[in-house]
Amino acid sequence: MASAAASEEAVKAAKVLMVGAGGIGCELLKTLALSGFSDIHIIDLDTIEVSNLNRQFLFRKTHVGQSKAHVARDAILKFRPNINIKSYHANVKDSEFNVDFFKQFNVVMNGLDNLDARRHVNRLCLAAEVPLVESGTTGFLGQVTVHVKGKTECYECQAKPVPKSYPVCTITSTPSKFVHCIVWAKDLLFAKLFGDKNQDNDLNVHSKDGSSSNSDVFKRDADEDLDQYARRIYDHVFGYNIEVALENEETWKNRKRPTPIYSREALPEEALKQNGTSGDCTKEHEEPSAMASLGLTNPQEIWTLADNSRVFVEAFKLFFQKREKEVGNLIFDKDDQLAVEFVSTAANIRAYSFGIPLHSLFEAKGVAGNIVHAVATTNAIIAGLIVIEAIKVLRGDYKNYRMTFCLEHPTRKMLLMPVDPFEPNKSCYVCSETPLLLDVNTKETKLREVIDKIIKSKLGMNLPLVMIGSTLVFEDGDGLEEDEAANYALNLDKVLAELPAPVINGTKLTVEDFQQELSCSINIKHREEFDEEKEPEGMVLSGWSAPVEKQVNSNGANKSAASSSSAHDSVEDISSKPGMKRKLDEISETKENCGASTSAQVVEDDDDLTMLDEDPKLKKKRSL
C-alpha cells in the first residue's frame, strides 16, 4: 500500500503528548512505541497502587508507591531503548503545561480518569490548535473520539453530566438507598470523627436538644476508656440520633420509620470479648485491619448486623490505637483498608436501621470509592484504536476520522463500531462564543458560591478571573498584590448585588481562565425561589446544552431518554462516570455482574468520581 510509507514517515517525525499513564496509558505507550513513534511525552500525577497491577502491565509490585509516568517510561525503554520518552510526574493542570507547551506537539492523546482534567486538556488543545484523541473505558465498554478544532466537535461541545448532589436531608434524616448511607458514613461520620474538625458538618452533635453548643458528643472525654467512647458514639449516631429524628412525626407520615440501634443490643459484651482486645493480633508491620483482627476473612460476604457492629467498633478503636497521629486530618481514601471498613460497616448499620438491604465490604467499597470497573482487554483495544486515529491525524487524513465504540453486545454484527465524528456545536461555550445563562438569587448568593459551584465546578476553570463590565472583582492565582488579594477576599463574601459593580438581573459577567485561554460570558437572571430537591445548589446554569434531537436506539426504535437511565436506582449510579456519556447512550448496555445499567459513561480508572444524574437533554443521536 502506497500510503504505508507515508504513515511511517508521519509517525517517525511526530512529537506526541500522552496524558495519563494508567490503564489506557500503559497500553497506549506500548502500542505507540511498537508502532514507530519515537518522541513521546507523558504526564501523570499518580503513583502506583496494588489494584492497578491487574491491568497496568508496565508496573510490578516493587513499583508500588512510585510515579506511574517514570516507571512506564523506564519499562518501555527496556524493549525500545532508542526512542525518546520524556516523563512528567505532575498534574496536567500545573502552569508549566501551558498553551506554549502544548503547541510543540503534533497530537495529544488522553488516557485520563476524570472529567476535570479532560476538560482542561480539551481547552489547551483548542487554544494551542493541537488535535486531541480522547478515550475512556469502563468494564467491556470503551470509546475513542477525535477532536480537531474547526473540523470536529470539541470534547465539551455536548454538556457532560455533572456530579450528583443529594439533598442534605436525604443524607442526614431520610436515606432510602444504600448509597445515601455510604455518603452519610463517609462525608459526615468519618469526616466528623477523623477529619478536619473545623469543616462544616451536618451531623447532629448535640447530646440533648437545645443544650449548650459546646457539648460536642464526638469529643472523647479526658478519662474516657476507648471501648466506652466507641460505644457512646455508636449509641449516639445509630440510636439517639434516630430517636430524635423519629420525634418529627411529619417526616414519617409517608415513610417507613427507622429503628434505633444501641450497642448493648447489637453488640453484646461477650461478642466483643471473643476476640480479645483490639489490635493485639494485628502484626506491627501490617496495615491495621478490623476484619483481620476479628478473624473475618471474606469481604464478599454480607455480614450480620452483629458482625458489622463488631467491625465498626474495632475499626473505630484501631484508628485511635494505631493511627492516632492522623486523627483530625484524615480524608476518606478507598485504598485505606481501615477507613473502608469503618465507612462500610457504619453504612450497613445505618442501612439496617432504615430497612435498606445490607452490602458486603467489597460492594460497599465500590460505592464509597466510586470505583470504576476496569479490565486489561478493553484498555488494550482502546489504545489500539487511539493509535489508529492518531496516525490518521498525523497524515491529515481528516475524511477518515472516526469515533469508535467498543461494545459488550454486538450491534449490527459489530463489536467495534466506527461512527463519523460530530461537527462542532455552534453554541458550545468552550469552542464558540455563546453566552451562558445563570439563574441565581443575587440578593442572597455570595460571589464565593458562584465561583466554587459554577465557575470552578461546572465550567471547570482552574484559575478564574471574574469581571463585571470593566471592573475586576476576582482573580485567582499567584502574584497578586497584597491589597488586591485582600480586596478579592472581601468580595468573595459579598452577595452579588453588593459587589463593587453590582450584579443584578440582566448583568453580564465575563469569566476567564488565562491558563486555558478560555473566556466566556454569563448572563445573570435574578430568581428568588429554588426547588430544594431539584436545585439544591440554589443556582441553575443553562445555555450550553445541545438541542435535543429525535433519539433512535440501536434497534431503530424511538426510545425515551429516561428508559435507559439508572439515575433513579441507587448503587447503579456509580457505574456512570463523567465522560462521554451521550455517545454510548445509544447502545444501552447491561453490566453482567450486578445487573446495573451502565448506560455507558466511559472513563478509565479509579480516581474519585462523583455520582451522576442523567440529564435527558444530553441524549442526542445522529443517525448513522
Binding site: V50, N54, F79, F140, T304, A306, A380, H409, S564
Partner: protein
Amino acid sequence: MDLSKYVANLILFFRRLRIRAFRAMGGGGGGAEEELTAQETALYDRQIRVWGVDAQKRLSKAHVLVCGVNGTTIEFCKNIVLAGVGSLSLMDDHVVTEDDLNSNFLIPHDESIYGGRSRADVCCQSLKDFNPMVRVDVAKGDPSLIDGEFIDKFDIIVVSCASLKTKLFINDNCRKRNKHIAFYSIECKDSCGEIFVDLQNHSYVQKKPGGDPKQQELAYPSLQEAIDVPWKSLPKKTTKLHFAMRVLERYELSEGREPGETSLSDLPAVLALRKDMCDRMSLNESQIPTALLERLVAAGKKEHPPVCAILGGILGQEVIKSISCKGDPVKNFFYFDAADGKGVMEDIPPTPAD
C-alpha cells in the same frame, strides 16, 4: 418518646437480627469452593467488579495453550496473564530473529538476551513477571504433531502463524477428546485480522440489557465445516475479508508456503485463484476486491501493532467469556480492518433464526 412503640421496634429489630444471622450462617450461594485469597482479591479488585468472583475462580483454574508466538498472540497472553488465568503454556520453537522484534514487546532489543533462544522461551520469562500468581511455561514441540493426551492438559487452545493444515489438525483433535476444549485461531495481516472460534457445544448465561439472565446453548461448527460452507449460501453483507482470507490460505496451502510467506509478486497467481474459487462457488469476484487481496499478500508476516492490540484484546475477552460461561461469545468469526475501523462478527454458516 412513645415507650410502647420503642419496645415494639426493638422486638422487630431482634427478630430481623436473628433472621439475618441465620441467613449469614448458611453462606450466600457460590457453593463450597475455596475463597479467593486476600492477595487475589486486592490484585483483581477492579476486574472482579466487572465479571464477578465466580468467573475469577473459574479463570484461575483454566489452562491455556498458545501455539505460535507473535505480536498478536503475545497481546492475548499479556491480557489473560494479567486477568489471572490458571496457567499458560507457550509452544513455539522458532529461534528469535530481528523480524520478531517489530511487533513483540516482550523481546528486548539485545541480541545477547534473545540470541539463539526460542520465541516461547524468551517471552515466557517476561510473561511470568506480569503476574506471579500465574504459571507460565514453555511447551516444546511442533503444533502440527501434538497428540490427544497432550491436548487434554488444556481447556483453551489458541493457534496462530500455523498453516491451514495444522489448524484443521488441532481443531479436529480438540473435538475428538472427551474433555471440552475450546479452540481459537487468530491471524493478523498488517492492518487486517481474523479470529476463528470453536467452542463445540457451549452453554452460558446470557444477560441482555433490561432482561433476566437466561441459559443459552450454542452449537459451533468445526473449522473444516465453517470454511467448507458454499459462498453463495452466505448473506450478501458477509465481510469481504472472510472470502479474501479463504483465498489467501488456500493459496499458501497449494503453494506449500509457510503462513505469511507471500509478497506482492504473488498477486497475479492469487487473483487467478480468486477467479477459480469464485467461479466454483458462484460468487461475484467483486466481493473480493483486488485492493484487499493486494494488501493481504503484501502484508506477508507483518503485523500492525495497534491491530495486534485490538485482536489480542478481543480474543482475551472471548476466552474470559468462554471460561466464565458468562456473556455472548463470538460465533464464530471476528474480523477487523483498520481501513474502515469495523470490528465485525460473522456467523458461518448462519445459525437459523428461531
